[in-house]
Each structure stands twice: as C-alpha cells, then as structure tokens.
C-alpha cells in the first residue's frame, strides 16, 4: 500500500502537465454542476419565500346571488389544493385598496371592485402547473369573472430553475466524460512510463490488483483534488456574487463533501476504465 501510494505520487511528477489537465477538467466538471446547482438552490430559496405568499384571487361576476356564492365557496374549499378560502366583500376590498394605495384614493370607486374570493394554497400545490390547473377549474364556474395570481413570474422562476438544473447537469456530464478520457490518457502515460517495472512485477508474480493499485490511487487523488478545486471555485463565485450583487446561500458541508467524493469517483472511474487496457498493451511476458 505504501509502495502503491509512493508510485501514485511519483506519477504526478512524471507528467505534471497532463496531471494538472486531468485535475482541472474534473474541477470544471464539478464547477459546472456547482454553479448551476448554486443557481438552483438559490432560486429554490427565493421560490420558497414567494410560495408562502402564493394565493389566488377569484373575482365574482356582478350580481352573483348569495346562495350560489356560498355553494361556490364550499366547492372551492373542497379542492385538495386549497388550504383556506375567504370572501372579500367589495366594500372591504375597497377599504383595503385605499389603505394600501392611499395616494390613488380617488381612482377607487365602490362600483369598480367586485366581490372576490381569496384562496390560499396547500404546500404541495404551489408549482405553476398545479396553480394554473386550479385557476382553470375555478374560472369555469359561471359566477367567476376572472382568476388572478402571480403566474407569470412564478412560472419564470420555475423555468429558470429547471433550465439551470438541466444546463448544469448537461455541462457537468460533458466535462465529466472529458475528464474520464483525460484521466484515461494520463494513466496511459503513467503505464508506459512504468512499462519495465510492470513487466518485472508480472514476471515475479505481483498480482494484477497490486499492479493496478497505484494507477487507481492516482486517479482517485486527482479526482479528489479536482473536487476540492471545484468547491473552491464555487465558493469564490458565491462570495463574489454575495458581496457585489445579492445575498446567496451556499451548499451545506455535506453537499460539498459529496462533490469532492464525486470528483474522486470520476478520477477512479477514469483510471479503472483505462488501466486494464493499457496494462495489457505493455506487458511483454517473456
């Protein structure tokens, strides 16, 4: 084991440029994941804050009867999405508008504002699709004139989040594949550099596992280094954005650890996939 680690470290010195390239590619792979992941978790934070306030307002047609209104109220309250529904009379709506927008007092006239229902949603039904479907259902009642909610920008935030998850995953995977290939070719170099030793090892009866071990360790170390580098880059980006633009949240330590481990896994995989093939190419048995 000590010998294997020593050999693995030696490989860094033998091909420093290629090693650095491998580490950097893994770092970029995870940095892509990290950046877009950061966007995603921050949007999620924002959405969570917004979602608490997501509510629908269903405006009633003029002249809806008291009976049909209370029947409607019961129907709406029974929808699974709905946590709470309350009636806002035209008068109180007006009063509230006046209070909130005192400088526009003149604009409001009792006849302008119809009565409406204020609907609060259950936690699980705050995504755009669920909200839209509820809104459609409520709109279909003849007593309802119109349903409004902050659909546009909620939908937009959701879309940005989805896109960032996809782009991050996509870029991350592409970089990860490139990293696996680059690690593979550094392993090739390392195997060639040690062709003589490997030949002798095989000759005197070193096990295949023993011959492979230094290369696997090499890949693992490079991957972990790439992971740390990615964590540092992501942290730096987070700090710069937080200082200069707006407050953002960062990954939890556990998530950072997972990232570093993912790097180690990519490096290990790159080695594992190539070491057997390259070893077979160099061993000249007799």
């Amino acid at each position: 084991m000590r010998l294997a680690i020593r050999e693995a470290l030696l490989a860094f010195r033998r091909a420093p440029l290629l090693s650095a390239l491998g580490i950097t590619t893994i770092a970029f792979s995870l940095f892509a994941f990290g950046l877009f992941g950061l966007v995603a978790i921050n949007i999620r934070e924002a959405l969570r804050a917004v979602e608490d306030r997501v509510e629908l307002r269903a405006f009633l047609v003029d002249g809806a009867t008291e009976e049909s209104m209370s029947a409607l109220l019961g129907d709406i309250a029974a929808f699974p999405e709905v946590r709470e529904v309350g009636y806002v009379s035209p008068d109180s709506a007006l009063a509230r508008s006046r209070e909130e927008l005192s400088e526009f007092r003149d604009v409001f006239d009792a006849s302008v504002l119809p009565g409406s229902f204020e609907i609060r949603l259950n936690d699980d039904y705050r995504d755009p699709v669920a909200v839209q479907s509820l809104a459609d259902r409520i709109t279909s009642y003849p007593d309802i004139e119109d349903v409004r909610f902050g659909q546009e920008w909620v939908a937009k935030l959701y879309r940005v989040r989805t896109i960032s998850v996809f782009v991050g995953t996509g870029l991350g995977i592409v970089f990860a594949l490139v990293a696996v290939m680059i690690i593979g070719s550094t392993i090739r170099m390392a195997v060639l550099a040690r062709a003589r030793e490997i030949e002798i090892m095989r000759l005197v009866g070193a096990t295949n596992g023993f011959v492979r071990l230094p290369f696997l360790i090499e890949g693992l170390l490079k991957g972990a280094l790439g992971g740390l580098l990615a964590a540092a880059l992501t942290w730096a980006t987070h700090t710069v954005v937080s200082r200069s633009l707006f407050e953002t949240v960062f990954f939890t330590p556990t998530q950072v650890m997972i990232g570093v481990l993912a790097g180690a896994a990519i490096g290990f995989l790159g080695s594992l996939l190539s070491v057997g093939r390259h070893l077979r190419a160099v061993w000249r048995d007799a």
């Binding site: 009866g205 096990t207 048995d285």
Partner: protein, 232 residues
C-alpha cells in the same frame, strides 16, 4: 522422485505463424537440470512461455507443480510465478535503480514484509557472488554480473523451478562458464533448472539431460552427448 512439471501432448499454435510446438510430452523431476536446445525458431522460448504460463497451450496440458493449464485461472498465475524463477538473455534489470534495489523490488511487489527484505537481499547477493556490488547501478556492471543480478532476483521468492532462456546468449565464454556454474550450484540446493541454449559444448561438458526441438517437435530427449558431437 516427484515431478515438478509435465507436458502432455502440449501444442501451441499461433494465429499468424502456425504451429510452434507439436504434441510435446515430457516430465521433469524435482531437482533435475535439463537443457533445451534446437535451431532458431524450433520452439524453445515458446516451451518456456508455456511453463511460465505466459502462454497457454492450444491443445494438450501443461502442469507445473500443482498448477494445470486446464484449470488454472488467469488470476492465479501470479501465485505460480512466485514459485518460479525466470531469467532471460537480456537480463531485464531496472536501469534506474541499484543492484540491491532491483532485487528488493521483486520482494516488495510480492508482499514480503519490509523488515525481511534487506537481509534477504544481502543473502541473495552473496549467493550470486555480488555482495560487493550492492549499490552499483546495472550499467556499471559487466554482462555476466548483470545476469547474476537477474538470477538473484529470480531466486528472491525461493523458486522450486528456474527457467532460463539463453541466459548466456549475450556473454563471452568465461562469463558463460561462471553463469552455468552458478546455475549448477542453485540446482545442487534443490531447485530444478531448465535452460535453453544454442551452446552445444555446454551440454556436452555437463553430461546433463537435454531435450532437442526441431520445428516444434521433440527430436531427442536424453543424455547422449555423442549425438551432439556429430551435430557439430
């Protein structure tokens, strides 16, 4: 006497060059010294490759110690190799490290405890007569001395069988005699030796058993040195 190896109608056929060994059968006893001879391309190296499991026979069976080509899995080959010593014409030393490091390497990579390595290397160097050259680099040694280092390395794991493929092919007569003498000493301590050589005078002088190959066939297997005199 018990057999250390046996070939049973072993045939080796290469995809492009055809049959290198045809139905070869023979047995070697514990502690025996056997020469392998024959013209270039007659199959000597191929035979040694079968014995070290660097190649598998196309047909027939090769049995070395308890290991049979019919049943041995690739993953178990290292276990067999640890019990074999193998030396070549071109020494195959690691040129970037000292004589003692070359020998220690064989012990390190086969899992010998670190504390046992240095004393063992010392004993091996003494056995091959190179105790004074422990810290020399391979290029600072003569060919004969380099081959002695290779033999010390081959002996590192106490093999029961030593395979030598033209170990004196690159050496002058004096060095050749020294190497053969060393192999005889090793043999005398109980290790069976199979040595491939073109040098018929070596075989004649030794009086040992020899197997002569011709285009993959066993042409002769015995100790009659007078045949060789007629060859020459």
């Amino acid at each position: 006497m018990s057999g250390v190896l046996r070939l049973d109608a072993a045939t080796k056929e290469y995809p492009r060059t055809g049959v290198a060994l045809k139905d070869v059968s023979f047995e070697v006893q514990k502690g025996e010294f056997v020469f392998l001879t024959g013209a270039s391309g007659s199959g000597k190296s191929t035979l040694l490759k079968l014995l070290s499991f660097a190649e598998r026979p196309t047909r027939g069976e090769v049995k070395v110690s308890g290991f049979s080509s019919a049943t041995l899995r690739d993953g178990d080959i290292p276990q067999l190799r640890r019990r074999l010593g193998i030396v070549f014409q071109d020494f195959r030393l690691l040129t970037d490290r000292t004589v003692e490091a070359n020998i220690a390497f064989a012990l390190e990579v086969t899992g010998t405890p670190a504390a046992a390595i240095s004393p063992k290397v010392g004993r091996l160097l003494t056995q091959v007569g190179l105790a004074s050259k422990a810290t020399a680099m391979p290029h600072e040694l003569s060919g004969g001395e380099q081959q002695r280092v290779a033999i010390a390395r081959a002996l590192a794991n106490d093999p029961f069988l030593l395979l030598a493929d033209e170990p004196t092919g690159n050496l002058d007569e004096r060095a050749t005699r020294g190497i053969v003498q060393l192999l005889r000493e090793i043999n005398a301590l109980g290790t069976a030796v199979i040595m491939a050589t073109h040098d018929l005078s070596l075989i004649m002088r030794s009086g040992y058993r020899y197997i002569e190959l011709e285009r993959g066939d066993v042409l002769y297997d015995g100790t009659d040195a007078r045949r060789l005199a007629r060859h020459q």
